[in-house]
């Protein structure tokens, strides 16, 4: 059992880190809050709405419309340019005017001059910044980041977390990030420590 009984509340506009040793259940908690996995028991309320009551296809649509994701592996589509990767989720929602917004987001993450490059022409840090821009295209209620800097060097990792901090402060973006690097604490509003599937501490 990855989680044995977890209750937490994240306020709108908060930047929260889930931390703990490997196997503590932090990624499992993130996946369940982000509707990528279903808990055995319990509820997940986003803006007081119980998202676990949705059907499979409704949850898919909810993720597209209201949630944003950044993964450890960047996971950009190799055949899309940076710009196309960013506006693609908006295209899937039928928003055909998202290109301008995508350009703005790429500018926000400092990659406006790379918008027509393909992922294989970018560094890991650049790809992750594109992934972050993609996660914001549909103005998500919550942005979930699962160890976004695990594959990056120290400098790139710092850039990423500073970017998260900037998004949180300027756009009031609610962010929940999983990380195992203690130095990442300085960027967040709150840290939730997990151990053996339970919340051990908060700071």
């Amino acid at each position: 059992m990855a989680l044995k009984g977890v209750s937490l509340e994240i306020a709108e506009g908060e930047f929260v880190a889930l931390m703990g040793r490997s196997g503590s259940g932090k990624s499992t908690l993130l996946h369940q809050l982000g509707l990528l996995d279903m808990p055995t028991e319990g509820s997940v309320l986003i803006n007081k709405f119980d998202v676990l009551s949705l059907t499979d296809s409704e949850r898919t649509k909810f993720r597209l419309q209201y949630l944003g994701y950044v993964f450890q592996e960047y996971a950009l589509i190799a055949e899309f340019t940076a710009l196309e990767n960013v506006f693609f989720p908006a295209m899937a929602l039928g928003d055909n005017d998202a290109k301008e917004r995508a350009e703005h987001l790429l500018d926000l993450v400092g990659l406006k001059d790379r918008m027509h490059h393909y992922p294989n022409e970018m560094s890991g840090g650049e790809q992750q910044r594109v992934a972050i821009a993609r996660s914001l295209i549909n103005n998500p209620k919550v942005l979930f980041a699962d160890e976004p800097t695990a594959n990056l060097d120290t400098v790139s990792s710092e850039i990423i977390f500073k970017l998260f901090q900037k998004l949180n402060k300027e756009l009031k973006q609610t962010i929940l990030v999983v990380t195992h690097e203690p130095e990442d604490k300085r960027y967040v509003d709150r840290v939730i420590w997990l151990k053996d599937g339970l919340i051990e501490d908060e700071e």
């Binding site: 296809s57 649509k61 592996e73 996971a75 589509i77 190799a78 055949e79 295209m91 899937a92 929602l93």
Partner: protein, 410 residues
């Protein structure tokens, strides 16, 4: 699927194709072109062969319907008052024309060098009125030496090359190279012996009685058979666009209930067995071609989808529906199938058919050409597209339905 979903799926497919490995895509399209070419060529060739055989039979041997002498209530050796009967038949709408034949049997004898070394060969001798016959049966188009006069004299004969010998024919029994102008003797089965001058030699690819027949005039046949205004058989040519074969035989039966009728299909015998076999082979080869194409697409899509398992998981994680992902692969399958079809059609219609028009493939029963109908082409194209859709959908479905976390993290 909504317009938005289709647009999204199309975008994924478009980018995958345009940014994919060009050599891999080219190989896939090449294989599919070959499969479609195979599908079209074999079916077209075999149907063309069947069609050619039938046409040769109709044009040179039997026409569409053969009218024979009555057997009930009494057996008659000939069709009497053939002119009235033919005139009656020709009033039926859709009848193109009729021609009468007398049939005799005999042995041809020829001494090429006049040195007593005679060659003998049995033959069917047909009495014809060529100026009436030539619009019904077109042996005259296959003359390779001399001519087939509209009015044969009583001492003139036209031989098949299988009887005369020479002209590249290979028969165990022929006259050893009789030529136009030579004299041949026929010992008829009724004991009469006549000598004729060869005025024409024809060559039919078709093996069978007509290719090895000899033609004399109607008046000569009547003098041998001691009859007049009769026929051993009446050949009837019809327009199948206006009625069916059964429709015509019914009408003729109503007019002349005592006469026996036979459709040309009843006289196919060995050729008919071959035609049936070839049609079956055409179907089998078509099915195999489609299966090969489907497997090619299946493997390509499956390998592509498996290699992108993580990417598919991420797409699903960010909210892209499975149906969009599946649709993108189906669109790719249709694209590859379509290009394969175009490639195959180009080879067939712009390379193979022009070459075969100049140099047709000689078959024992006639020259083979590729025969297609619009419906046949549509069926072939549709089959490949449908096979492509299924072959693309199944592997995409298998990979796309995998759990999101398992796809991403294994």
């Amino acid at each position: 699927m909504s317009n938005t979903d289709f647009t999204t799926a199309f975008f994924i497919a478009y980018k995958t194709i345009t940014k994919g490995h060009k050599s891999t895509i080219a190989l896939i399209i090449f294989i599919l072109s070959l499969s479609f070419f195979n599908l079209m060529f074999v079916s077209g060739f075999l149907y063309g062969f069947s069609d050619g055989v039938m046409k040769s039979m109709i044009d040179n041997s039997t026409a569409h319907i053969i009218v024979m002498p009555q057997e009930e209530p009494t057996i008659k050796p000939f069709i009497y008052e053939q002119d009235e009967i033919r005139a009656g038949i020709e009033t039926i709408p859709g009848i193109v024309g009729t021609a009468r034949h007398y049939q005799l049997n005999g042995t041809l004898t020829y001494d090429k060098e006049n040195d007593g070394d005679f060659k003998y060969t049995p033959a069917q001798i047909i009495g014809v009125t060529q100026h009436e016959e030539k619009d019904i049966l077109t042996i005259n188009k296959y003359i390779v030496s001399g001519e087939f006069p509209d009015y044969l004299k009583e001492d003139e004969i036209v031989l098949g090359a299988n009887l005369s010998g020479g002209f590249g024919t290979k028969q165990t029994k022929d006259l050893g190279g009789a030529t136009v102008g030579s004299k041949v003797q026929i010992n008829y089965s009724n004991g009469i012996t006549r000598t004729y001058t060869i005025v024409g030699i024809f060559k039919l690819s078709m093996v069978g009685s007509v290719a090895s027949a000899a033609y004399v005039s109607t008046s000569e046949a009547e003098s041998l058979l001691s009859t007049y205004n009769s026929a051993s058989e009446i050949m009837v040519k019809v327009d199948l666009n206006k009625n069916t074969l059964d429709g015509y035989t019914d009408k003729i039966n109503q007019m002349f209930p005592n006469l026996r009728l036979e459709k040309y299909t009843s006289r196919l015998s060995t050729v008919g067995i071959l035609v049936t076999a070839f049609n079956l082979i055409a179907v089998i080869v078509s099915i195999i071609s489609i299966i090969v194409s489907a497997i090619t697409i299946f493997v390509m899509i499956y390998v592509n989808a498996v290699s992108k398992r993580r990417q598919i998981g991420i797409l699903k994680a960010i909210g892209i529906k499975e149906s969009i992902i599946e649709a993108s692969y189906i669109i790719q399958s249709i694209f590859y199938s379509a290009l394969g079809i175009i490639g195959g059609l180009i080879v067939i219609f712009f390379i193979v058919i022009p070459i075969m028009a100049v140099k047709p493939i000689a078959m024992p029963y006639g020259d083979a050409v590729l025969v297609y109908t619009v419906l046949g082409i549509i069926i072939n194209i549709s089959s490949l597209i449908v096979a492509g859709i299924l072959a693309g959908y199944i592997p995409a479905k298998i990979v796309a339905r995998e759990d999101i976390l398992k796809s991403i993290w294994g």
